[in-house]
Amino acid sequence: MLYRESGQFVTSYRADQRVFRLWQERWGLALLLAVAFVMVPFIANDYWFSAILIPFLVLSLAGLGLNLLTGYAGQLSLGSAAFMAVGAFAAYNFHLRIEGMPFLLSFVFGGLAAAGVGVIFGLPSLRIKGFYLLVSTLAAQFFVQWVLTNFSWFSNNSSSGVITAPQLIIAGHDFSTPLGRYLLTLGIVAALTVLALSIVRSALGRNWMAVRDMDTAAAVIGISIARTKLVAFAVSSFFLGIAGSLWAFTYLGTVEPHGFDLTRSFQILFIIIIGGLGSVLGNFLGAAFIVLLPILLSNISNNLLAGAIDPGQLENIQKIIFGALIIFFLIKEPDGLARIWQSLKRRARVWPLRF
């Protein structure tokens, strides 16, 4: 009953093209943002900010970046962590080497640098598809990590190759506290999510989906496949680059290549597969699944079973349960968690009728 479109008429094209067309969606979003920006800072503690919420948000953003490329434009990639690393190191170097560079701007430049590298590693996509493309993007993963460890210029000749992130001071405010880092991350992630929502509904997003669904048909109706694919790599890598900067600056607090290894790429890929390909919401659901569920499982088992079972065993059992849950959810909903939300919405629209 609550989720009804009836009675909501649009009188202009502008109104019809809004990202959030229904008042239910607008109020839902406003409520969510209010909770995230106002309520959470009051109820959460430092552990929640630094160990749970910040990685959840950053990985959601990284998933969003990869989802634009894989879910919307249909190009598989295993180089996500490499593009994140480029973003992190570029942001660090821009901030370090240009006097008076504002932090936010260096994040943006980090994203742009990642976009450039993304386009270069996206070039093979013009000739190869599917799993073969996946393997060729793997090259980005190894190459970027190799460059960043072997050329000490990138880490400012630091002997260990690990750099402590500088103080996060933006417009005179210190965002270095856990709460400050949370709010900074949340703000950037929220802004980029709105940006992504608009992109996928724009002509660009529709071109991506056309290329994903059938590239021959897309070419036939006049879409330049090469340009569309490369733009997808650029935009996706931009998002990943910013996610990488946030990962280094607000979550880890250090800038090091090992934070961006192949495991991270896989993690991001799993986020979008579990969350749902071709969905913006799915990235958040997938990241919640990947980040929050293991923590929840370990808290539950530590509280309930502590002492009863050997701690080493307990950890293994948690991994087994986590793996089983992934399989269970993918069998129940092969199209990802976002699909569950979609069908709930569809049924809410016609409730209490069936169709």
Partner: protein
Amino acid sequence: MSTELSNVPILQLQSIEVVYEKVILAVKDVSLSVAANSIVALLGANGAGKSTTLKAISGLAAAQRGEVVRGRVLYQGDDITQANPAALVQGGLVQVLEGRHCFAHLGVEENLITGALIKRPTASVLKQQLERIYHYFPRLKKLRKNLAGYASGGEQQMVAIGRALMAEPKLVLLDEPSMGLAPLVVEEIFDIIGNLNQQQGVSFLLAEQNASIALKYAHHGYVIENGRVAAHGTTQELKARSDLQALYLGI
């Protein structure tokens, strides 16, 4: 005893309702029956629910998140509403999908052989089966070593039908056999269908857009509109009804 058996329709739908993804109602109320040794045509516009009806019978609707929520499907008197598609093929109910779907990277003969494998035939039986198919589709014999992907549209449709026949079916569900084919080729394929029906006693339930050719070969017809049976009868009756022709059949 034998007369009683032949009176049981080979296939019966009792007011089935098919829903995709639990919200999209594709077929609302379709009842039909296919007598043994007969050809029944399922006619109607695009989106009327013809393909969904066929997929509901063969159990393939489940693959597209569809389910039969009401009504029953009876095959030779047994309820097969929830049956497994593979078991149905084993029992002699085979569907030929819309759009042919040959294995493009297999040869024509290899495609045909895949259809028989479910019966685990011996080499000699397999050879016999192939000869039977080549007897009805002489064109395929010339192409037997060619890749199916390089065969023409009409030949691929023949491969698809021949592949279904390799499983020695009693009832074949044919979805749009005339799609994208030249009128002469359509005629050729329907001729073969008619022969198979007369000589081998295979029953056909075919969904078709091309009403005139379907009614030429079928014994019985059902017109589906909007997920419901709008009219049915023998082909003579359907052909005689001028309102139907104007509204649905375009003959």
